[in-house]
């Protein structure tokens, strides 16, 4: 039935190999067009798959089925455990297919304009294909190990794309940081997989997440380690992988730096798709979390809420527009994580799950839009700093409007898509935990504030700013994706999402809870209002405000010193504290011991060598001495 989904994976993979091997043998445009055509096909196939799944095949007996479109055994590890590669279609993976292929297609098109004339244009498209392939493989994974495989692959393609400008020092450092931090988290993920798979004796998602009669939960019942049940350990460790990829506290540090990559890449990888892998992971294993380890789910919710608040505060102080967006991404992903954390499994209980996925869906579009818009701005003024911008509404008409739409969406103003998904999240949080709700609610206000701070600083504020080169609107290849995504942002909020995606795969009805909705609109408007007051016109207010909360402002500006802590840990503890002593120990103690052995041998032989002086008299002395000793012995006996 769904065998046509196989090309969705195969085309980008082949495209990567093809473009990668050809590299400079193609003209830049040829590579770009080939890549884009390939992705266009992937997108179309994804839409067809989504249509088929949701409207004709997927729903059987009121439940969306998990359909394995394709599966083969890649590596047999033990009798029970084998790594398969395959395609699993269920509501969330199909939804992700649509999101990824759409955003990726837009980014492909957009890059024609943005990356035009860059050295390594072919390589760029090859890597985009690699990323798309890996990300698609991740979401359709039939088993947790396949997910881990593609998880690593997206990591490496993200690494290569962040380090695309490999002659720039900061880009190299950022790419390295991104890879190593996520790798560190993946280590926990891997241990978690090992632990869980040992008890479940399967990697397969379908058997792992089977809500009834779950073998994993039964087998691990009663087993505990350090007072915490083994399953909790396993699921917590797996979640750590998600923490790394989705840039939750305390592994968020790589994401702001990852903005060193080309802006379309940030839009694709670090806003819309890869960073939500953590959310997707939790959603994928949601039944296990909910049934087996509800306490881990609570931890997840709190990590999400704290991260969300933290990132929102930091976002208010950053001046690099891409970093503001990066922190906003962290904050929004944390929203989704929290929402998953407060969710239940069945029916309306599962609102959080649905909301999380819904927010993932809408966020992908409007955040990609924001990044691409920021890209257009950067393209126009050749800088990332807010101080270099202002009054751009005169020059960049389309960008201005699309950016405003995205800002309204993320701030949660109806009728834009962000409003609907955010509202569901707030409702879910409200019904589960008031502290979390307060946290998220406050965040919603902050979000509106910093997004409009960003918006005004770019497009209004200093209306009379002089530019060396007059900024000009981006070419059509760049504005088209903006318009397209803006359209999506406007309409996709009206999708009855709960009809398609839910925790127990059964469609249910949701209604907007107007009490909470109006409260959230209210706080968003307040945020926008403050931002307007402070930033719409050039004024002294921001500086004054910054002065009054100086301590908070400074530490938020320095991202609460997380980077410094990590630098301390890596440089001082790992490099200086572990690696250097080990290198020293190896050279001087272990090797010293071996050299000492040889030195001792040498020394002894040097000394004994003198017995063999070559002087006859010495030999005779010893000879006679020996004879005398023998005589003496004979006398004594």
């Amino acid at each position: 039935m769904f065998t046509y989904t196989l090309p969705i994976l195969v085309i980008p993979a082949l495209m990567f190999i093809f473009l990668g091997l050809m590299d400079n043998k193609f003209k830049p445009m040829t590579s770009g067009i080939l890549g884009t055509i390939g992705l266009g096909i992937v997108a179309i196939l994804s839409y067809i798959a989504a249509y088929d799944y949701f409207f004709s095949v997927g729903l059987i007996d009121g439940i969306y089925q998990k359909i394995i479109a394709f599966n083969f055994e890649w590596l047999k590890i033990t009798e029970h455990l084998h790594i398969d590669l395959g395609i699993l279609l269920d509501p969330i993976s199909v939804m992700m297919l649509v999101v990824i292929s759409t955003v990726s297609l837009m980014v492909h098109i957009y890059s024609f304009g943005y990356m035009n004339g860059e050295r390594g244009f072919q390589r760029y498209y090859a890597l985009l294909s690699l990323f798309t392939f890996s990300m698609l493989g991740l979401v359709v994974a039939t088993n947790i190990f396949q997910m881990y495989i593609f998880w690593e692959l997206v990591g490496v393609s993200s690494y290569s794309l962040i380090g695309f400008y490999y002659t720039k020092k900061s880009a190299i450092a950022a790419s390295k940081k991104a890879f190593i931090v996520t790798r560190f988290a993946d280590f926990f993920f891997l241990v978690g997989i090992l632990l869980v798979s040992f008890y479940s004796e399967t990697f397969d998602f379908i058997s792992l997440t089977n809500p009834e009669n779950n073998e994993l939960i039964m087998k691990t019942a009663g087993l505990s380690f350090l007072g915490i049940s083994v399953l909790s350990w396993g699921m917590m460790l797996i979640f750590m992988g998600g923490v790394g990829k989705s840039a939750m506290l305390p592994f968020h540090i790589w994401l702001p730096d990852a903005m060193e990559g080309p802006t379309p890449v940030s839009a694709l990888i670090h806003a819309a798709t890869m960073v939500v892998a953590g959310v997707f992971l939790v959603a994928r294993l949601f039944p296990v979390y909910y049934l087996g380890t509800p306490e881990v789910l609570t931890i997840i919710a709190y990590i999400g809420a704290i991260t969300s608040l933290f990132a929102a505060i930091v976002a208010c102080t950053q001046t690099d527009i891409k970093r503001v967006l990066a922190f906003s991404t962290i904050s929004q992903i944390a929203y989704m994580i929290t929402s998953l954390g407060v969710s239940g499994l069945a029916g309306h209980e599962g609102l959080g799950y649905m909301a999380s996925m819904f927010h993932l869906f809408t966020h992908a579009f409007f955040k990609a839009l924001l990044f691409l818009g920021a890209g257009a701005v950067i393209h126009a003024v050749h800088s990332n700093e807010m101080s270099a911008m202002g009054g751009l509404n005169k020059y960049l008409k389309i960008t201005n409007i699309t950016f405003l739409i995205a800002c309204l969406a993320i701030a949660g103003i109806p009728p834009f898509s962000g409003f609907f998904s955010k509202d569901e999240i707030l409702v879910a949080a409200f019904h589960s935990d008031k502290i979390l709700f307060a946290c998220l609610y406050f965040c919603a206000g902050l979000t509106a504030f910093y997004m409009f701070r960003l918006y005004f600083n770019i497009f209004w504020n200093d209306n009379n700013k002089e530019y060396e080169h007059t900024p000009h609107e981006a070419p059509f290849v760049m504005t088209f994706p903006l318009i397209f995504l803006a359209t999506l942002t406007c309409v996709c909020g009206f999708i009855p999402f709960s009809h398609y995606v839910s925790a127990d795969a059964m469609p249910f009805e949701t209604h907007i809870n107007w009490a909470i909705a109006s409260a959230s609109i209210g706080v968003a408007l307040i945020g926008i209002g403050i931002a307007t007051k402070m930033y719409f016109k050039k004024s002294e207010i921001p500086d004054k405000v910054a002065d009054t909360v100086k301590g908070l402002y400074t530490s938020a500006y320095h991202k609460f010193y997380f980077d410094e802590i990590w630098v301390f840990v890596t440089k001082r503890i790992i490099f200086e504290g572990i690696s250097r002593p080990i290198a020293w120990f190896d050279r001087h103690v272990v090797d010293g011991f071996m050299n000492g052995l040889s030195w001792t041998t040498n020394f002894v032989s040097q000394k004994t060598k003198n017995l063999q002086s070559g002087l006859v008299q010495d030999y005779v002395t010893i000879f006679i001495g020996g004879a005398l000793v023998i005589v003496l012995i004979m006398i004594l006996i």
Partner: protein, 490 residues
């Protein structure tokens, strides 16, 4: 004349072929032809083996042959292969083949260099085909001796010191080893009461437990020295750093595998009871190797040192997995040997090529090579990614098999060690990316380096050959893991 002996006879013929060579071209011709024939034979062997297995031949060893060559001590020249030997022979053939191309321009005394290299190859092939312990040790020593001359004569840096250190340490190891082998020989009570060196016969025989306790550490340490087990690994950094390219490749790629192979074939398979009783000691040591080697690599500045420490870490993982004593982990260990052999050979080949151009291996002196030699740089990145276990390349499948296998011990001790060993994948990423970022990326500031050129055809053959192998194993691990796990009777 049996098929397997061809692996030893062809290099002997190559040795004869080198004698009348008058110039470097003829030497190369002989070397290339010989290495190609060997590679062809290895591939043929693989298919013959698969074919036999498909026909339902389930004997432990296939293509056996047995000649008595010293009746007084019952020493035989006995050969036979199982899946593990087959992949190891294939690995050796690939690396010898690529090694010949990597040492295309070796100077001076080109002919003598290839003669010693061929002698080393004889030792390696002989070791992998033998099933008689005595012959195995004989070939083992044959492989070690040329090392001294190859490093001492054609090496760089403080080569005499390194060559001496390497040879002495390995010889020290083989002193233990010979003791252990003779001990096994004399204490094994075979069915007909005769003393035997044959592995298959000893495997069936009963060795008293108190003797096993003595001989297991001896043989394991003896082979472990070559497998770079902590704390007997220090020959590795110095030795690799001083050795010429092809020798580094062969040494890290194949010779270090003799250690792992020997540990499996002799120490673990012949002394299973002692192995399961004493494994924990060596698990600790090899576990230390894994993490320690990785941490050691972070701080190094010489490319070859980094790689040598990385080898300590990866080879430590091989022994670590073998000692886990279950089928999955052992399969992983053999795959790791294969994978590490290929990727470390790739690394050393690339380092040799970079060094041949820039005349420095210090990462502080190198930068921005990506722009200057894109082919080599991209290959270096691929090698690096293979080393840090990127899915799709060989390192990943081996490591994952090992980790899954090791983790299937339900007790705390094995699991904690496994987790510690797992952490090496993070540290590996750190040092690999550090090097890549340092030497390949950035802007080249050295005027001299700007004039350098990219790889030439024979270098490309070597590098591409290895990358293809790494990728094939990484993409289609099924066939190789099936061959291996089919031969492990644990």
């Amino acid at each position: 004349m049996d098929f397997l002996s061809l692996f030893v006879i062809i290099p002997v013929l190559m040795l004869l072929g080198f004698i009348p060579c008058r110039n470097i071209k003829q030497v190369r011709a002989v070397a290339v032809i010989g290495a190609t024939i060997e590679l062809g034979l290895a591939i043929a062997l693989l298919f013959m083996f698969l074919n036999e297995r498909n026909l339902g031949n389930t004997a432990d060893m296939l293509f056996m042959a047995d000649y008595l060559w010293y009746p007084a001590l019952n020493i035989h020249y006995a050969v036979g292969v199982d899946g593990i030997s087959v992949v190891m022979i294939l690995l050796s053939a690939i690396i010898v083949f690529t090694g010949v191309f990597a040492s295309w321009n070796i100077q001076p005394l080109t002919r003598d260099f290839f003669i010693w290299l061929t002698l080393l190859a004889i030792g390696v092939y002989g070791f992998f085909i033998s099933i008689d312990m005595f012959t195995m040790v004989l070939f083992y020593e044959t492989a070690l001796i040329p090392m001294y001359l190859l490093i001492g004569l054609w090496g760089t840096g403080k080569k005499e010191y390194s060559a001496m250190k390497l040879t002495l340490m390995l010889m020290g190891g083989s002193a233990f080893l010979i003791l252990g082998v003779l001990g096994i020989h004399f204490s094994a009570e075979t069915a007909d009461g005769s003393l035997s060196f044959n592995i298959l016969e000893i495997a069936k025989a009963n060795i008293p437990m108190e003797w096993q306790r003595v001989f297991f550490p001896l043989t394991f340490v003896g082979f472990g020295v070559l497998g770079a087990m902590f704390p007997f690994h220090t020959w590795s950094p110095d030795g690799h750093a001083s050795a010429p390219t092809a020798v580094s490749m062969l040494h890290a790629g194949v010779l270090m595998k003799l250690g792992g192979y020997g540990c499996y074939r002799i120490a673990i398979c012949l002394l299973p009871e002692a192995a399961s009783e004493m494994a924990w000691i060596f698990l600790l040591l090899t576990g230390i190797s894994v993490v320690y080697g990785a941490f050691g690599a972070i701080k190094q500045t010489d490319l070859k040192y980094i790689n040598a420490y990385s080898s300590v870490s990866h080879c430590g993982l091989v022994l670590f997995a073998l000692l886990m004593l279950n089928k999955t982990a052992m399969t992983g260990a053999i795959m790791q040997m294969l994978s590490h052999g290929l990727m470390t050979a790739l690394f050393f080949a690339l380092i040799g090529m970079i060094y041949g151009r820039t005349h420095t291996r210090d990462i502080r002196d190198l930068n921005g090579l990506m722009r200057i030699m894109p082919f080599l740089s991209v290959c270096y990145v691929i090698a690096g990614l293979a080393s840090l276990g990127l899915p799709g390349l060989s390192g990943f499948v081996a490591e994952m098999t090992i980790f899954v296998g090791s983790f299937s011990h339900p007790d705390m001790f094995h699991r904690v060690l496994t987790i510690i060993a797992c952490s090496s994948i993070v540290i590996t990423a750190v040092y690999i990316l550090r090097v890549v970022g340092k030497i390949l990326y950035g802007v080249c500031t050295n005027e001299e380096h700007l004039k350098l050129t990219d790889a030439v055809w024979y270098e490309k053959i070597a590098v591409i050959g290895l990358i293809v192998c790494v990728t094939i194993i990484g993409m289609f691990p099924h066939w190789v893991s099936d061959i291996i796990s089919g031969s492990i009777n644990w």
